[in-house]
Symmetry: C2
């Protein structure tokens, strides 16, 4: 019986399970000096306040403000639309997909696609809709373009640009940028993104917290999970700090064993967005200087029917990271009725659907292991706020530690500017 | 001006654009004997009837039956639930996401997750809901488990197991398996999956056609696109057959240039599911015998904010395949209102949102090219039935040709059985 909100089982990464494709049992000991250095470097900056992303659960004041604002919004609105893209959307979307309750319907257009964005706006009762424009810099192209269109719609359908002001919440830098200027000019409700927290590490700032609270996510539980995780993260010993162990193992599998591709595979539909959030975090933090791993996402059992063939017999460049959930919310036994004698039916009758799903995960993991394909499992007792809070903080720390191991800065993204500059030049050629 | 439904632009794969990371301009000529052999082997089997998946647009009788059944269903039902998983879901889902019109709401639970499946069933008016159980073999675990639960629900809420019979359509093998037995016993409406068409190549059989027709997809247009594509596929010359050219180029980039990872990146939200359908097709067909490429999916501009850093500066193991759409359905100019003087706003004002999206794609492609990162573009004049039909047939042929180049059978999936057997053993340990 597992009482902790999260447990890392890396057993199927080692040589005794997967043979020569696996890691030596001494792997983490050999890597110990690098792990200690990576841990020390990150946590020194956390302690100094330079990297607050691992201490956001201590910010009770922000949580209280978010909860209060969300409570007011739930009384007045039916829908919340998050105007943002990438890191401004993925964290909140993940929290809501996993944990969303009886709150507002929250929409993440997350792109500049006029067909989808237009269809979304058409279907809303603008009087009963709140908008949350989120951009750390305050100047993100897609976010501003979405906002300008929404202002025009509000003017047309609610009677004037001013009608949007009481329905618009801005989440951005405390001082700088277009959104902050607009908030000041129009007296908008606003939240701050701490300047030292990067976009992809911002899920536990109001960037992710406000939409989640509006959707009815139990953020108190999420913060308990973060606090539990933070205690583990304090240790520089990979036996006690699962983020440090996982960073070391995945790094070794890439660099020493030629396995840069990591597939994150939850066996729960509600965790698909969580896996997508992680893929973004891992890709943008570590993919630089011609190195870094390649994250992909999948969901079990669905993608047993699409990607499993590749994981089992494709090129030996992959690691599969499962997320196994011990208990689903809903019991759903498979009934037989008048079909129990059919041989294709009899063997599954009476089993719970969630139990079958778990056994499919275990069968897949065991088959991969027997085929010499390294895999690990994150286990959660259920999809709870505590487990999700813990996993999302642990994987953020894991990403930061991995930056140290790879020798890259996990907090920058120097490769994304060039395309923006070219796009802007193309647009100027009217 | 592009008049054809689909155009392949491989220019940014070559050395003159991306330097030493690229392919020689002679690449396809050098590969010509292998391409000719791969093309000849596949099309001989197509001609003989052994591989009908490239000639399904000639099956007018099936299309007529599907359209007639869907027309009747639209008069009687509001919702259609597809009971299936993997190849039985992905094709229909892709067609509907790209082209869905004013038809039934179609749901794809696509898993055994009791929380999501239960929530879906709870929300339906069972009297006005049709069910389409799809399994090529007729014995897929997940599909049967879903169906058994639905029968129980129908018995409880509609009054007896028999009440489901007139609301259930089965799509399966013409002769064998549990679903065919059930269809015979209960006199169910049914469609056939041709025995020689594999699950992941079945989108243009009733597996994908019936759900798409129910959703109001213009299948006549899709078939026109398939017919256009089939004319190109007839040629063994890669200059005339874009599927053959793309297969050769992607194979060379993997085997000769160490780039096994292929990211499919449409710049249209409605094509995300199409990219996911392709990932499944490519992964399960080619990932075997320790070889094969690793497909990942993304959507622009969204994933410029998550994966672009990796594509630009990560390990040199990737190729990006864009899908560029020349025209969105909806014009959505960016208005300025009272904010036109702000420097973060002024430069985008007056541009159409869809135009900005296209320029973002072009900026990204040019930035990748300048950074020496090979990329190609599939261009469509718009997201039309003709373009989607063409792309989905061309990429199926590309996959089949690539099987010949890699020396693997693209139509089997030997690696997916082991996990199923273990899961079934685990389940038997009550």
């Amino acid at each position: 019986m597992q009482h902790e909100p999260l447990h890392l089982d890396p057993g199927n990464l080692y040589t005794d399970k997967v043979g020569a494709n696996g890691l030596s049992p001494e792997c983490l000991n050999v890597l110990r000096p690098s792990l200690t250095a990576a841990h020390g470097a990150i946590h020194a900056r956390v302690q100094s306040g330079e990297l607050p992303f691992l201490r956001l659960h201590e910010d009770r004041a922000t949580l209280d403000r978010v909860l209060e604002a969300a409570s007011a919004a739930r009384a007045r609105f039916d829908d919340l639309v998050v105007l943002g893209i990438g890191g401004s959307s993925l964290g909140g979307r993940a929290l809501i997909a996993a944990l969303g309750g009886a709150g507002l319907r929250v929409h993440f257009p997350d792109n500049l696609d006029p067909d989808r964005f237009g269809a979304l706006i058409d279907g809303l009762d603008l009087d009963r809709t709140q908008w949350n424009a989120i951009s750390k810099s305050g100047g993100t192209l897609e976010t501003i373009a979405q906002l300008l269109v929404v202002r025009e719609q509000a003017a047309a359908r609610l009677g004037g640009y001013g009608s949007l002001a009481s329905r618009l919440v801005v989440t951005t830098d405390p001082q700088k940028g277009f959104l902050r200027r607009l908030a000041r000019r129009d007296g908008l409700e606003s939240f701050e993104v701490p300047p030292c927290v990067g976009g992809r590490f911002s899920v536990f700032t109001p960037v992710g917290l406000y939409p989640a609270a509006a959707a009815g996510v139990d953020l108190e539980g999420v913060f308990r999970g973060m606090a539990w995780a933070a205690e583990r993260l304090a240790s520089p010993d990979p036996a006690e700090n699962p983020a440090l162990a996982a960073a070391g193992l995945l790094y070794s599998l890439d660099v020493d064993k030629g396995r840069p591709v990591i597939a994150t595979v939850p066996y729960a539909d509600s965790l698909r967005a969580t896996a997508e959030w992680f893929a973004q975090l891992w890709a943008e933090s570590l993919g630089k200087a011609g190195r870094g791993p390649v994250p992909i996402t999948a969901v079990g059992a669905t993608d047993q029917h699409s990607q499993l063939q590749l994981w089992m017999e494709g090129p030996p460049n992959m690691v599969v990271a499962f997320i196994e959930v011990d208990r689903c919310d809903r019991a759903m036994p498979i009934p037989a009725a008048d079909l129990g004698d059919d041989p294709d039916v009899a063997w599954m009758v009476g089993h719970d659907m969630g139990h079958i799903l778990r056994m499919e995960k275990r069968g897949t993991a065991e088959a991969l292991t027997r085929a010499g394909r390294p895999n690990l499992t994150w286990r959660m007792p259920a999809v709870t706020p505590e487990s999700i809070g813990a996993w999302m903080l642990i994987t953020q720390a894991m990403t930061a530690y991995a930056g140290g191991l790879y020798g890259v800065d996990p907090f920058d993204q120097p490769g994304v500017e060039a395309g923006k500059i070219i796009a802007r030049r193309l647009l100027s050629q009217r």
